[in-house]
């Protein structure tokens, strides 16, 4: 994968608490001064939030069509 994608993967591991302690601390220190990285982490969290909303919407639509199939 190209470096940008590797970074996304790394931030995902950070957010999920799946990094080794040492690596996690390293990143957290970088986050203290690296504003661009801070922004990326924040946006990635909003991205997961957006996916959750999209998922809920899809599930709702599936339930609606189940309802129509079964009860109307």
């Amino acid at each position: 994968m190209r470096p940008e994608l590797e970074e996304i993967k790394l931030l995902e591991a950070l957010l999920g608490g799946q990094l080794q302690e040492e690596q996690e601390q390293e990143l957290e220190i970088q986050l203290l001064w690296d504003q661009a990285l801070q922004q990326k982490v924040a946006l990635q969290q909003v991205a997961y939030q957006a996916i959750q909303e999209a998922g809920r919407k899809q599930l709702r639509q599936e339930l609606q069509s189940i309802h129509r199939r079964l009860f109307s």
Binding site: M1, E4, L5, I8, K9, E12, L14, L15, G16, G17, E28, L31, Q38, Q39, K40, V41, A42, L43, Q44, Q45, V46, A47, Y48, Q49, A50, I51, Q52, E53, A54, G55, R56, K57, Q58, L59, R60, E62, L63, Q64, I66, H67, R69, L70, F71
Partner: protein, 223 residues
């Protein structure tokens, strides 16, 4: 079974998020609920989890067929309409899905029993709310409504759009993996990717596009 849990991704390191985003955190923060943990063996939950993830529509349909008549009966007896029953059950089932798939909920009762309990509880609260609002002028009632609505509601609609605008392929891969809890093997197979690796690369590309498109949204809304 290993899974990236959405709740976890949003909750861990919340302090970073809060520290960095200022206003934005208020709009997107989720209540940091602790993961449900238990010493019991989650035999039943493991079974239902697998059924939900592997055969979602079939499993949901079975549960719906069983639960809806019960919820409808209950709601009708308690001043509600079929429409209320429908909303109530669908909310409860979405909650159920998320709990079982992402939080490893340990079920100690049948799914229908769990759903009924959630519906009854929520319906009781809804009735109390409606009761309180009776006798208020429409203006006051509306104001109250605005105040009690979750903070999340306004940006929610817009956020969904960002995922949809990525196109069907990205929408499906992101939602299937992060929300529906499917394994990459299953996703690669269903969406005709060459192998798990190429599906995984695609997933991160989609996430990159989503993140990029959201940067416009956040600066527009929160600065």
């Amino acid at each position: 079974m290993y899974c990236y849990c959405l709740q976890q991704l949003q909750l861990k390191k919340e302090y970073i998020f809060v520290r960095m985003m200022g206003d934005m955190s208020a709009a997107f923060r989720i209540n940091p609920k602790k993961h449900m943990q238990t010493t019991e063996t989650p035999v039943m939950a493991a079974g239902i989890r697998e059924a939900l993830v592997q055969h979602r529509e079939k499993t949901l349909e079975k549960m719906y067929a069983k639960a809806y008549p019960m919820v409808l009966h209950y709601v009708k007896q308690h001043h509600g309409s079929p429409h209320d029953a429908q909303d109530l059950l669908q909310d409860a089932m979405i909650l159920f899905y998320e709990k079982v798939v992402h939080q490893q909920l340990t079920l100690t009762a049948a799914p229908t029993t769990y759903l009924m309990a959630v519906c009854k509880n929520r319906w009781r609260r809804e009735l109390e709310k409606r009761h309180r609002e009776q006798g208020l002028t429409p203006e006051v009632a509306e104001q109250l409504q605005e105040e009690t609505d979750p903070v999340m509601e306004a940006p929610t609609v817009a956020l969904t759009g960002f995922v949809e605008r990525l196109g069907q392929k990205c929408h499906d891969i992101l939602v299937s993996f992060y929300y529906l809890g499917q394994q990459m093997e299953q996703i690669a197979q269903q969406h005709q990717y060459r192998n798990v690796r190429s599906a995984t690369v695609q997933k991160f590309k989609c996430l990159e596009r989503l993140r990029k498109s959201l940067s416009g949204f956040s600066s527009h809304h929160f600065r």
